[in-house]
């Protein structure tokens, strides 16, 4: 299936800038060639943005790297034709290709932390390309670099030219990378998941910036992403990839309006849409569309799992966690990171409380402090009325079977040298909840419960896919029959369709076992789907907390509004309706030793919906004044 659907020619595109015809890519492994991209064709017109979208392993990045001829020569084989301005890139001699890279075709990579050289100043790294391709002298190149940094809106560009990358935040680094890519005014920019590693508000800024720069420079963009929200936001045309084939290509609006291929429909249906839960009171499972037949499985409603009036499983009050920053010759404590500052909340059985916020806001530290994986500095954590923070080591180990954790990266949280069966049986045996035979039986049972088969117990983690691994982690957490599960970004690293299934599983398990979930996530759309109540964290403090419908439907705090406004909406029709996101950054929570945290006032907006009173630092941003 080289081209599934011929793309409708968009207006003003006569001869495409980039024409990829029947592209195949094979890699050598174990001496055998394995084809991972099977004949993909697409075109990118001048000034056009084309999104290559697909889940992990779909071959989207491999295809893009093949266009740039960046695969190692000995271990890869690229077939087909890649015409750039009429020239076949695959037939070009290496020196000519080198001349094109970074000049006419530039690339932006996913990880801004690793795509800059840490020992060179950013000014030099931007100027390097200019001196290489344009033959500019050092001074002229640096002057141009300043101009570029200004264009990607790095504040005080001239003074920051000689800074090293570690002095910039993730979003700022990605701007630097974009400035580098734009240095030689490329005709085509290949952006490989450029916003995936960034926070939503930063992502929104970078997307705005890319769009604006594209209009000014008149370049074409090949945008590789897994995020349908980003696609809707930015792409003129979309190519959907799966298993190394392009299953559907077309105008972005048309694909979102009525996709033909069942896989595209499955993909779109599993994308959580912010705002889709208006009017619902309880969490809702994702509808699952079969990727082969297109049949829709409409989710049955979930029973109400929350019984009011009971004592909450978890009562946290005044939780404070700080990390010392040491410096100087003798390692004296210089200051503290106030990671969690006076956080209080309750969580009942069968209830899901979502902790949302951007990276560095202290939501993960809160989760870990509740389980005492990190020792909090102050506060109390009552589990079924008993303070966890005052328990001795043995009593703590004993209580831990009532509270379990599911981590973000399922691969990292499974011992690579331990079979899956042994990993699930471990907590049972550790807590002496049964004999080996019983543990084995329960392992088989749990594997089945999370949608795997008992014979998988003897396999090792690396033999599973990401979604399966997360199911294994869930089974392991359930092994001790906990009351509370802290899910730390548990579905964030998963592909959308897998994410939907794992979320559904978690909701079913909650209904079955009456589990209390502390659901930590940065993904507002997923949070909207799964949670009963939401707490928004900023700089280690809860700024707004309340029932899900109240927080999403009537956000009060300026930060909550900013966060919600930044979420990309997977609907091209609503493009541009999004608020402009202000370009400021999250401040850091490092404080001097003598810092006394201010006493915060909370205001109840509606029953259960409380908002922290905010100071004037929020006012001039102009998102809204106090209600």
């Amino acid at each position: 299936m080289p081209t599934a659907v011929s793309a409708p020619v968009s207006a003003a595109v006569s001869t495409p800038l980039l024409e990829v015809e029947n592209l195949t890519t094979a890699f050598r492994r174990d001496g055998a060639w394995r084809e991972v991209v099977h004949g993909v064709s697409f075109t990118v017109g001048a000034r056009e943005t084309v999104a290559l979208v697909g889940e992990s392993g779909s071959g989207k990045s491999v295809s893009a790297l093949a266009v740039m001829r960046l695969h190692p020569r000995q271990a890869s084989r690229v077939g087909g034709r890649v015409l750039f301005e009429g020239r076949d890139l695959l037939a070009l001699p290496e020196p000519a290709m080198r001349g094109l890279r970074g000049d006419a075709i530039a690339m932006v990579f996913q990880e801004p932390m690793t795509s800059l050289n840490p020992v060179l100043t950013i000014g030099f790294q931007i100027a390097e390309g200019l001196m290489l391709h344009r033959g500019l002298g050092r001074e002229a190149a640096e002057a141009e670099a300043v101009r570029l940094l200004d264009r990607v809106r790095i504040p005080a560009a001239r003074s920051r030219l000689h800074d090293h990358p570690h002095r910039f935040s993730g979003g700022m680094r990605q701007r630097v990378v974009i400035a580098m890519a734009l240095a030689c005014r490329p005709k085509l920019l290949i952006a490989d998941e450029p916003t995936t590693a960034l926070d939503v508000t930063v992502q929104a800024q970078i997307l705005d910036l890319l769009k604006e720069l594209q209009d000014q420079e008149g370049m074409a963009v090949l945008f590789i992403t897994h995020d349908m929200g980003v696609v809707a936001e930015i792409a003129d045309r979309t190519v959907v990839m799966r298993h190394g084939r392009a299953v559907e290509a077309g105008d972005t609006a048309e694909i979102f309006r009525g996709a033909h291929h069942p896989y595209t429909r499955a993909l779109l249906s599993s994308v959580p849409k912010l705002g889709s839960m208006a009017g619902e009171t309880r969490p809702l499972r994702f509808p699952i569309v079969s990727a082969t037949t297109g049949a829709v499985d409409v989710p049955p409603g979930l029973p109400d799992t929350v019984t009011p009036g009971q004592r909450p499983v978890l009562e946290v009050s005044g939780l404070t966690t700080r990390f010392d920053i040491r410096g100087g010759l003798l390692g004296k404590v210089r200051g503290c990171v106030h990671a969690v500052e006076g956080v209080s909340f309750t969580l009942g059985a069968g209830e899901t409380l979502a902790l949302v916020g951007e990276s560095g806001c202290g939501k993960s530290t809160t989760g870990r402090s509740v389980l005492r994986l990190i020792e909090p500095a102050a506060g109390s954590v009552l589990l079924d009325g008993e303070d966890v923070l005052t328990l001795g080591p043995a009593a703590l180990r004993e209580r831990r079977k009532r509270m379990q954790m599911i981590f973000q990266d399922p691969f990292a949280s499974l011992d690579p040298r331990m079979s899956v069966g042994a990993a699930i049986a471990e907590p049972i045996l550790l807590n002496r909840l049964g004999t080996r035979a019983e543990a084995r039986a329960r392992t088989a049972d749990l594997l089945q419960r999370v949608g795997l088969t008992p014979d998988m117990a003897s396999r090792f983690p690396h033999e599973f896919s990401g979604g399966q691994r997360q199911r294994i982690c869930i089974a392991r957490a359930l092994a001790v029959r906990p009351r509370l599960i802290v899910a730390d970004e548990s579905v964030s690293a998963l592909d959308v369709s897998v994410k939907a299934q794992v979320v559904n599983l978690m909701l079913e398990l909650q209904a079955e076992f009456g589990l209390a979930f502390l659901f930590i996530s940065h993904d507002m759309a997923v949070v909207e789907r799964v949670s009963h109540r939401v707490a928004v964290m900023y700089l280690g403090e809860i700024v707004e907390m309340g029932p899900r419908a109240a927080v999403f439907g009537d956000p009060q705090h300026p930060y909550t509004r900013r966060l919600l406004a930044a979420v990309p909406v997977p609907d091209p029709a609503r493009r541009g309706a999004r608020h402009k996101v202000s370009a400021d950054e999250i401040r850091n929570p490092i404080r001097a030793l003598d810092y006394v945290p201010p006493v915060r006032q909370y205001r109840e907006v509606s029953p259960g919906h409380v908002v922290q009173a905010w100071g004037e630092e929020w006012e001039p941003k102009g998102t809204s004044a106090a209600a």
Binding site: A412, S413, E426, P427, L430, D455, R476
Partner: protein
């Protein structure tokens, strides 16, 4: 919890490897616990798993496989040699002094007409035993110090590392000489001449060789203890001891095995150096290093005398290093071979 027998695994993992491996290569002495640890349980089903899988991976490593054969031949040679080559090591024959290789003396003779092959068979036993024992001493000390330092969050870690750095900074050869002069007689009285020198050399070489292992283990522990799977086990109620034994140590063993094989090599070389300086075993007990030492005055007329023990040391060290490489790769369950 990892008792292999309960989980339906043949409790002797090494026996399921190759007969060659089982036949006691020196490196496998070190690897046996690692093998057992790396193989928590196994499926009886169609899948290659457990020891089979480890063997399969190991056998893909050509050089390691060849090295196993070479080392097995050397070990078998020194163990069974006296049965096949029954010439006494102190059989002096002044009519056949400094002869090159011949049918009567395949490796030639030395300046007293003693058969070098017989002396090498006897000396190889000591050299290999010293190498393996010193490696065990160094690895055990290194693992203990390294894991204590790696798990400690208080003052113990830095203190242990200062001690390690101190040992690294000591000039080794003068110290060896000093220790040997000081303790040779005491140990000889306790363990007898041969035993005393053996214990002393092993302790001295092992006691000065544990520092790289300790630093390696500490570095591994520092990174592994922050891994999510360790945190996951901790959140399930595991004690620190359980974490170290079942999660951290098995994952840290790969580099330790390589360090261990290097330790075997350097111990054999250190013993040779001591013998060469005349400070190891007494002159009437041959070791490979001692034979080399004796040969040095006759290099011009009898180069064979030095070549054969030299080649034996070279082959042993090289093959042990390759086996270490192979083992490290084979024991890494994630590695795609």
């Amino acid at each position: 919890m990892r008792d292999p027998a309960v989980l339906g695994l043949d409790p002797t993992p090494a026996a399921m490897g190759s007969p060659l491996v089982a036949e006691g290569t020196a490196a496998l002495v070190a690897a046996a616990p690692a093998l057992a640890a790396a193989v928590p349980d196994a499926a009886p089903a169609r899948r290659r798993s457990g020891p089979h899988e480890v063997w399969h991976r190991f056998s893909r490593h050509r050089l390691a496989l060849v090295s196993v054969v070479v080392l097995a031949m050397l070990v078998l040679g020194v163990l069974l040699g006296p049965l096949l080559w029954p010439i006494a090591i102190d059989d002096i024959d002044f009519s056949a002094m400094l002869q090159g290789p011949s049918a009567a003396h395949p490796f030639g003779t030395d300046d007293l007409g003693q058969d070098i092959l017989a002396r090498m068979i006897s000396g190889g036993r000591i050299s290999l035993a010293v190498g393996v024992s010193a490696m065990l001493v160094a690895t055990v000390v290194g693992l203990t110090v390294g894991s204590l330092a790696g798990m400690s969050r208080g003052a113990l870690g830095p203190v242990l590392m200062w001690v390690t750095d101190l040992f690294l900074a000591l000039p080794q050869l003068p110290l060896l000489l000093l220790l040997i002069y000081l303790f040779r007689d005491t140990l000889k009285r306790i363990f007898g001449v041969e035993g005393g020198v053996f214990v002393m050399i092993v302790l001295v070489i092992g006691g000065l060789g544990w520092m790289p292992v300790a630093r390696l283990v500490r570095a591994q522990f520092l990174s592994l203890r922050e891994k999510e799977f360790v945190e996951a086990a901790r959140s399930q109620g595991a004690t620190t001891f359980h974490l170290v034994l079942h999660h951290i140590l098995p994952n840290a063993l790969g580099p330790v095995i390589v360090a261990g094989t290097i330790e075997v090599s350097s111990a054999i070389i250190a013993e040779s150096t001591l013998s060469f300086l005349g400070l190891g075993f007494p002159p009437d007990i041959p070791t490979w290093g001692r034979i080399l030492f004796d040969a040095k005055d006759h290099l011009d007329v009898a180069p064979h005398w030095a070549l054969f023990p030299g080649a034996a040391i070279f082959l042993t060290v090289l093959s042990i290093n390759f086996i270490g490489d192979g083992l490290r790769d084979a024991l890494d369950a994630r590695r795609v071979v």
